[in-house]
Symmetry: C2
Subunit: 231 residues, 2 copies
């Protein structure tokens, strides 16, 4: 079946994201370790993020709020407000950073846009994702943009219905097995997995739960045009 | 031209929102006044929200982050972290409150859904707005739902294009002159303004900038079916 629409994930597929969270988290660890000892700050922050996910959803604002709550809890309220102000400032900086594209993204998308309809399908904070897209300079290459609060079978189904996309003519491209590969393949679409060098634990999927077929893995977006000719 | 699609704003059109922000803001004022005197807390918070709008966007998480930053600044960092934890908790509560519909909303939408395609067109935080819609029990009545980061001429144009809506067959219904009436009328659609008893200052429009025609004002959503027969 000929491919008509290519869906692209944004964070860590088109532009760097997780590595930036890691940088901030490193600063957070250093800051907290001035106040508390022998506490696994990373683990406690990860637990807080998971606990808050169904209240806050994904994104930098949610991450900032979870850092603040973790800092207050781990210090039993002893952390000075001026340190919390520093954390607030990290969040604002993350939200305003230039969008740093992964290698090869610009040329590859420009090539593919001549042959396919390109869609950006990301999850996270609407305002933040739209800002990143605007700063990426890629906006004009996309036929459609959908920011979803969660990427699962239901939300992909919503995209297909709203946009009149036949799953058999759609290929999803992204770095997350959980959000990009598994739900797309479950709906009869195909998927291409491009791993990023850091994966948020939340996005990992046990090998046994991966679909047997309908997807391939490539090392770089630069291999995408040739790969699409073969699937 | 016969009407085919009705667009509804969510916050303060279908369900209560601004009054909840006001309740939290009242608690914030009381909390801050234990630490600082002779400061207009409401004005300072409003200024902070406006300053942060282009970094955070709209919504409860943005409001919470702005409360925290205001509290730290106004106390020059002297506020205890335990008070900031209280503010974090207010934000979480707001995000989890049941959706409280305005009077007449359920019956009116059920009546209108038999004759028109209904859309929800709100702005704000995607995750929060989807949660409110899910808790409202109205989800099945809508043919389409679009959460926008800003409601202006460009974003309404995007909705019309994506959904194949002719502006002349579309009526937007909402409590905000700035976000619901002015941009819809500018695109050749019609609008119905239903004022809410509290209006966020940011949403106000000087009378001189209002369109002369293309919109009407009604007092309650219950008048909507009859009004639609006359325009």
């Amino acid at each position: 079946m000929p491919i008509r629409v290519l869906g692209f994930d944004g964070d860590d597929t088109l532009w760097h994201s997780e590595s930036r969270f890691e940088v901030t988290q490193g600063k957070f660890r250093d800051l907290l370790q001035r106040h508390v000892r022998d506490i696994d700050v990373d683990r406690r922050l990860a637990e807080m993020e998971m606990k808050n996910l169904n209240v806050y959803g994904y994104g930098v604002k949610s991450f900032t709020l979870s850092m603040l709550e973790t800092a207050i809890q781990l210090t039993q309220g002893r952390i000075p407000a001026t340190d919390l102000e520093v954390i607030l400032d990290w969040g604002k900086r993350m939200l305003q950073e230039p969008t740093e594209l992964l290698e090869g993204v610009g040329e590859t998308l420009r090539t593919l846009a001549r042959k396919y309809d390109l869609m950006l399908i990301t999850k996270g904070d609407l305002f933040d994702q739209e800002g990143k897209l605007a700063r990426s300079g890629l906006g004009d290459l996309f036929w459609g943009v959908d920011v979803l609060s969660e990427k699962n079978v239901e939300s992909y189904q919503g995209v297909f219905k709203r946009r009149g996309i036949e799953p058999s003519k759609f290929v999803m491209v992204g770095n997350s097995l959980r959000s990009d590969v598994v739900p797309a393949v479950a709906l009869g679409a195909r998927a291409i997995h491009i791993p990023y060098h850091v994966t948020w634990q939340h996005e990992q999927v046990p090998e046994s739960e991966l679909p047997r077929e309908g997807w391939v893995r490539i090392a770089s977006i630069k291999e995408l045009p040739a790969t699409l000719e073969t699937i």
